[in-house]
Symmetry: none
């Protein structure tokens, strides 16, 4: 993107739609049919999923510019040309990948069931987030966005719009709930919902950069963080 002079029409909306419909849950799909008897569409979808999976791994491991489509194809078990049957080019592939990657995240986030106290809700959400994101490959996606965001404004924009602003809105609501119920003393916290998630972000970064030097217990850290906000906790 940075330097590309003329970009052929990429129709990001179309591409995104395609991604949404094509994306087949990798593990769940297998049992549906006996392996060999997959039809055209299914096979194509499988191939696409393999490419997406492989590309994700490579992009995470090397970043956008250093990733070779050759490697992606090899890892996905398809020919290089096949990638171009599913994606316009490397750049749009990357953008689409990042976009589709966060779909499940949003699902989990908004799915947070509302029962119990505000602290419990947040704790539950945090536990999920840490287990699903910080400790997994998805954390690397966040790092990837941090890494490539400046060069892919479209991604930063999309991410801000679809994830960050929504997520922070939800957190703000929770904080206000907590303030109203007296669980949270610091009213000002609602002005900076980022403060609530900051330890999670730091945990994500820590895992990919420094985990091997000094492992970090993200859950425990987050609990201490919540103690700062809600006051000393009683149990573990």
């Amino acid at each position: 993107m940075t330097k590309r002079t003329k970009r052929s029409p990429r129709s990001s909306s179309v591409t995104t739609t395609r991604a949404a419909t094509a994306r087949v849950p990798k593990v769940a799909s297998a049992p549906l049919r006996p392996k060999p008897a997959a039809n055209r569409a299914e096979k194509s979808a499988e191939r696409r999923a393999a490419i997406v999976e492989a590309a994700m791994e490579e992009f995470i491991a090397r970043g956008f510019a250093a990733t070779r489509l050759d490697d992606v194809a090899k890892r996905a078990g398809v020919a290089k040309g096949t990638i171009y049957l599913h994606f316009t080019d490397k750049e749009s592939m990357f953008e689409e990948l990042i976009r589709t990657a966060i779909v499940p995240l949003i699902g989990n986030i908004t799915m947070a069931p509302p029962g119990g106290s505000v602290r419990e809700t947040i704790e539950r959400f945090a536990a999920t987030f840490i287990q699903e994101v910080v400790s997994t490959r998805r954390g690397d996606i966040i790092r990837l966005i941090v890494a490539e965001g400046p060069r892919f404004p479209a991604i930063a924009d999309f991410y801000f719009r679809e994830v960050v602003s929504r997520g922070l809105a939800g957190i703000t609501a929770l904080i206000q709930l907590g303030v109203a119920s007296g669980e949270i003393r610091q009213k000002e916290l609602a002005r900076f919902p980022q403060l609530l998630v900051a330890p999670a972000i730091v945990a994500v970064i820590w895992q990919s950069l420094f985990a091997r030097h000094a492992p970090l217990d993200a859950i425990e850290m987050f609990k201490v963080h919540l103690d700062l906000i809600f006051g000393e906790r009683r149990t573990t």
Copy 2:
């Protein structure tokens, strides 16, 4: 190799004038001219500085892999080959840049004068950090480290050793001081000094990714953060 065409005479249209202006004794010449006419060593140092500066800009803007040394040279106003007089190759240039970039950061961190309460000390340090790092180009260096760290383990290692572990050690000491003096109620905080700096990290990331969508008052956010740790502040 054998193919090179003869080099055409460079800019100096009148070669004969050389004899007139040149021939100044090396060492004695320095005092003769005031500022603009630097000697060889100085000029070389200037060039190197220009390369470092230009490379920093390019690396920050594009990341390691997507940065072209051609562009670095152009931006620095030197020839491509000149870069190789100062750095072995692109990779070691990058590593050296990252390393030298944090030297001033360390300076500022360790320079923190010890007067006043723990909160005041931290507040002072945070203000400096935010002004000097979050709001400047140096914040991008942190983002760059986050972005390229996994591909440059040497950098992550160096950074952990020289900056992170030292910084966290200092912060831990401060926290323990605060706990001892009663300023900080949460003893557990000392186990996770990352919590103290998390908002600063988040601010850095926010600035480079989302600032244009929603500006963030990092200083104010940090104050609210400190209120969580030290209890409600009195003044603004």
Copy 3:
């Protein structure tokens, strides 16, 4: 990397015709067409052969260091990148070329049919060698080995192992045969089989360096040489 401008459509002006001509079952297609239309594997082999041929010419004409792969590609009628589909890099290409170049030589050498006297056998071999090597491009390969050997020890090693030591062993055997049969009086010759081939080597060198100043009748020279060894010959 990110900078690439979109590739303009290559030579094939009418892309639509592709659908008509394509879609032929891979394996079955071969017999359909006679000679000019080679299949993929054949075409690749042809290309490789063209590269080998072109590279040989260039290496012989310029030596290793001064040869440009650009020229090799141009001469072979392929794109620069195509070379790298067949060879790892310039150096290994050179080494492989030299290695494969001598295979036919070895074939000819060992193929020497055993009939007649020792002198006749040697004469026959020498005639073959001179016709096939000294007077052809292959002689230049020998000169190339002499030229580049010191910088490519692997080549010198290989050549010594596969060609020189074997060839000299064979010659030694022949000499001993001749000594035993009384054809050769000088028993000591078996200690220096190099003496037998020395004129051929000198002829090779002479051809590439001095032929245009003074042509050399290698065959006649070799006959005189054999007269020294076997005694005066009867006919011319």
Copy 4:
């Protein structure tokens, strides 16, 4: 040479002259004056000799194209620019070097004192040649000429004119002398004086390519060779 488009006037005659007058016998010059008190001209001559010496080593080790003037300068202990005070460019430096390198060889060759039988004369000459050339760095110069000759026709021409044709003429005369005196039975040998020196050439090549695999006693080999020509020798 091969590709160079425009060559600035190199005035090879002038250059050669310069070389002839500038060339100071390296070892003999030192005792003439106490080391530190060398004057301008002497210093310059010393520098030039150092460059010639260093260049020779490098050219022999790497060939023309692969030799870097940087390395030559370093080895000679001068600055890179200094080379250009003595030589027009790399190419003319190479040509001049090759030319001046054989001057002492010619000296030794023509200096051969005429006493004794033809065999003795040749034996004496061969011994000198093997000791002075085959076993020394000068043999590599011959190999260098073989290696680079085709790319430097001027060198091949010069060498043929100044060394080869003269040398062969001398050898032819010797052979005719031997034939006349009855020492040599093979009259035809005079038609191919190359046969006489072939073993020496082969020895030179063998030394640089295969000596480490199988050492070759060049003197002994040459004696056997002479036995072929003159008949069995009596003593060693």
